[in-house]
């Protein structure tokens, strides 16, 4: 059993079997991070380049730690200070990285489809670490992994996703992944932040958070992307907080053992009340720990095998 593609560009089209393989493998890798010597020799001699075209804390460091714990050589490359400013194209840049024998390129880019463009042009494996408002597959995988660890399954669970559905890449990957795994997804947010035809992805749409919360086994809160709010999607952050923030009052109508998740970074007091973010239902920091295991599993599955596309 292995992944069908040389890349992980998104969860759209990834099968249930493949997602299960990634999550099962991550289960085994979790143990490595709990040892006193947190390192295994598995990917010795492999080169993994983190190519980040947008800011990132969690994802970049998580990939970097994952590579190091597998003994791969991880190199970080951000576009500031690179030849990008001299006008080199994206494809030329990554071809140069590949010419230096990179085995995996982990890419974050502001433009949807950028990782797909480079994947078509390279033999190296490409992992999408977030492309614009399109997909962020490793975040969705670690979310599913965290849910599965707590509730033992994904099938049949109801996941309520609250917030900026229009601009979130996390939500799109989660919708693809969760529906493939048999979960029910409800998205909630102000109409300006919910695309008109999103229900065609096989999910339900609600505009009132109080109708959604009682149904939830998992409440996934998304970040309100403050950098986009100069535009006219919300009258004010205060109004958003009043109508959609996950507060202790709202938690009273939730199921007793509901899980509260957030992909980070958190805007405390905007989309989630600090008492909930730090409360008993929150698994937010566990999501971060699990991210390392999931990314180790992916690097192993994509870089640990016999060279994929090359002719012999």
């Amino acid at each position: 059993m292995q992944l069908q593609s040389k890349d992980l560009l998104g969860l759209e089209g990834v099968t249930k079997k493949e997602i299960s393989l990634i999550l099962d493998t991550a289960e085994s890798f979790r143990e490595v991070s709990e040892r006193s010597i947190k390192k295994v020799p598995t990917l010795r001699g492999r080169t993994i380049i983190n190519f980040f075209h947008e800011p990132s804390t969690r994802t970049r460091i998580s990939f970097e730690i994952a590579a190091k714990r597998l003994s791969a050589d991880g190199i970080n490359f951000s576009t500031s200070g690179s030849s990008f400013s001299k006008g080199e194209t994206l494809v030329d840049t990554v071809k140069n990285l590949e010419a230096m024998q990179a085995d995996v390129i982990v890419m974050r880019h502001g433009i949807p489809g950028a990782p797909h463009l480079i994947a078509r042009n390279l033999d190296a494996a490409v992992i999408n670490a977030g492309d614009g408002a399109h997909e962020h597959p490793t975040q969705a995988l670690l979310d599913m992994f965290t849910i599965r660890r707590h509730l033992g399954k994904l099938d049949g669970l109801t996941v309520v996703i609250v917030g900026d559905i229009a601009f979130s890449r996390v939500v799109r990957s989660n919708i693809y992944g969760l529906t493939t795994m048999g979960a029910r997804v409800i998205v909630v947010g102000p109409p300006t932040l919910i695309p008109v035809e999103i229900s065609r992805m096989g999910i339900e749409v609600l505009y009132n958070i109080d109708e959604a919360i009682p149904q939830a086994d998992i409440i996934m809160i998304l970040r309100i992307q403050l950098e986009r709010q100069g535009k006219v999607f919300l009258p004010s952050l205060r109004e958003y907080a009043r109508l959609y923030s996950l507060t202790p009052e709202r938690m009273k109508i939730a199921k007793k053992d509901v899980l509260v998740m957030h992909p980070g970074p958190i805007n405390r007091g905007v989309e989630i009340d600090p008492r909930i973010a730090d409360g008993d239902h929150s698994v937010i920091l566990e999501q971060v720990s699990n991210g390392v295991a999931v990314r180790m599993a992916l690097l192993f599955l994509l870089a640990g095998r016999k060279e994929f596309n090359k002719s012999e």
């Binding site: 059993m1 292995q2 085994s28 006193s36 295994v40 597998l70 599955l301 095998r305």
Partner: protein, 183 residues
């Protein structure tokens, strides 16, 4: 698939059980420091056998012994050569290895590569005082300088043959060791 008519049962459930009982006595004789004795089984066959061995030790000594499970996939030397990727299974060693006497157990000893990987893996967990190797079947044909300390049975084989230890824990109807021949 190829011809499997020449399969031969080389050990029965009773043989396997007797070997494990003998291992228990031999191990207790060799390692008198009961407090520091621990068993580690290599996934997956060795893990089941290790669990059985620990039960025997516990019955004889009327005390508990530490038991761990080791998956060696991450330490294999042939990962980049295999077309089909191996499944990574769980490693679970939740006790301190420093200054312990470790009995490493596996079902079949063949090239020695698995044991090499297991030794590297164990050393990443700590510095055991001693590591001894117990195997149900030693089929020869070593590629590395590795030898077992406790042997169930030695048999002569050729590379075209496969020795399979079938255990009820893995859904087999009965425990047995079979020699599979292929044309």
């Amino acid at each position: 698939m190829s011809n499997v008519a020449a399969n031969r049962i080389i050990m029965t459930a009773r043989d396997i059980d007797r070997i494990l009982s003998r291992f228990a006595y031999e191990i207790l004789e060799r390692f008198p420091d009961r407090d520091n004795l621990a068993v580690v089984g290599i996934q997956t066959g060795g893990a089941h056998l290790g669990r059985r061995l620990v039960q025997k030790l516990e019955k004889l000594e009327k005390r508990s012994f530490s038991f761990g499970i080791l998956d060696i996939t991450l330490y294999r030397d042939d990962l980049a050569l295999e077309k089909d990727q191996p499944i990574v299974r769980k490693t679970d060693i939740s006790f301190e290895l420093n200054q312990r006497d470790i009995v490493l157990i596996d079902d079949v000893l063949y090239t020695g590569r698995t044991v090499r990987a297991a030794l590297d893996a164990l050393i990443d967990f700590g510095r055991p005082r001693r590591i001894a190797l117990a195997v149900i079947v030693d089929r020869g044909l070593r590629e590395f300088p590795i030898r077992p300390d406790f042997i169930g049975k030695e048999i002569q084989t050729i590379p075209e043959e496969t020795v399979r230890v079938r255990l009820t824990e893995e859904g087999e109807p009965v425990d047995q060791v079979v020699l599979l021949k292929e044309d």
